[in-house]
Symmetry: D2
Subunit: 133 residues, 4 copies
């Protein structure tokens, strides 16, 4: 990821603290990838029928993180209300998916790693949100 470098090249001012923004964007990319991989790994498990809720929360979290990543990346003519509402949805999605993955982290390594990615992303988005309030 060239996130910090790209943020530094924008001709205008950044919409938030650049370090917090870059951290959130990187955490969103990692979480979206981990959730896509976790849904796919759950699908391959023998006990896939018991992992339905995990697959569903993974798919939602991956989509929501990917969109939030784009909204945060854009610095031109940002609308604070949109950025905040999308960040709030992302915090809820990461918390839900992190809780679900954590609940079978001992049985499945993909859920353990994915839960870590969700936690890190939830925290980075929450911290960024606090500065935008």
């Amino acid at each position: 990821m060239r996130t910090t470098e790209m943020l530094g090249t924008h001709p205008g001012e950044t919409t938030a603290d650049a370090a917090l923004l870059a951290r959130a964007i990187d955490a969103l990319a990692a979480c979206a990838q981990a959730c896509t991989a976790c849904a796919d790994a759950c699908l391959a498990e023998d006990m896939v029928a018991e992992l339905r809720r995990c697959i569903r929360t993974d798919l939602d979290c991956a989509d929501i993180c990917a969109t939030t990543l784009r909204v945060l990346t854009r610095q031109t003519a940002a609308e604070a209300a949109v950025v905040r509402a999308q960040l709030q949805a992302c915090v809820v999605a990461c918390r839900t998916c992190g809780d679900e993955c954590e609940s079978h982290a001992e049985m499945h390594d993909h859920c353990r790693v994915c839960a870590e990615a969700c936690r890190e992303c939830e925290e980075a988005c929450t911290q960024l949100l606090a500065t935008l309030a």
Copy 2:
């Protein structure tokens, strides 16, 4: 769109009123397409420099509608808190983009049509949200 037909084939119960769900999903698809087209048409205008804010809100609204469409489409193991938070973000994005497009609807037909798509989508999502509260 085969939205209603697809909703009817799910082996479980739908997470909300099927007619309201289908209407929201179709409005989200139309809004995402209109916003992508409007951003692209704004980019081709001679006065593109005055349409920066419109392009930005179009891009955000397209991404947010596309993600909300997927979250609403999924009926298995839905988490109400995630669905609600993403719908709320979508309502804010549609309202912001609809206001922006409407402000130059008289000058640009793509903004006029896009504003209509945003209004319809905002209303469909707001109505669906009311039944999920």
Copy 3:
């Protein structure tokens, strides 16, 4: 969908026959939605373990259709090589997913409807591709 209306508002010329373009864009939106819904319905089936390949092809087809829809929607400064390559990938994805869904269309209605959406999308993209060669 306001696809035809939006295409007509672009300040420049369209990159292909407007009727074929609009038909492809609408078929892509319908196919992306049907594939997302079919993956989700498969996940809810008792025999989910036998539907792994269907879920996988659905998820790929939904992502590929959503991206192809955006590439086709944009009319400004189009690069024919990119449009063609993405359309070709989409035709392969729709054919693969259509074949897979068709193979258990008699058992699952969501696969039957989804196969129809894939066929229609494959055909619309193939026809559009033929005019771009």
Copy 4:
């Protein structure tokens, strides 16, 4: 990104060399982010009217990379023809966007950094494709 770690947790075999896969996935995430940021930075430039083609190729490349990332991330029941066709489209998109950004890399730092991300992604996808032929 936890790409390598996530690939290692999949219950089945990986569809390609794990190191090449992880490198491609990481390059796709970096390229998608850089292209989204470059389109946004171009939009904020005084000379936005001369950057229309750059914004267009950035938007296409971001969408195509994001989808290719997901297709590569999934390891369950992969269909080689779909993976290859999407990778080929991605190579074309990255080459087109890399060429365009490079052509004004001396004037805009965001284009310079974005061109680097496109080149790295094109190369990683080309190398992976060679092993899938």
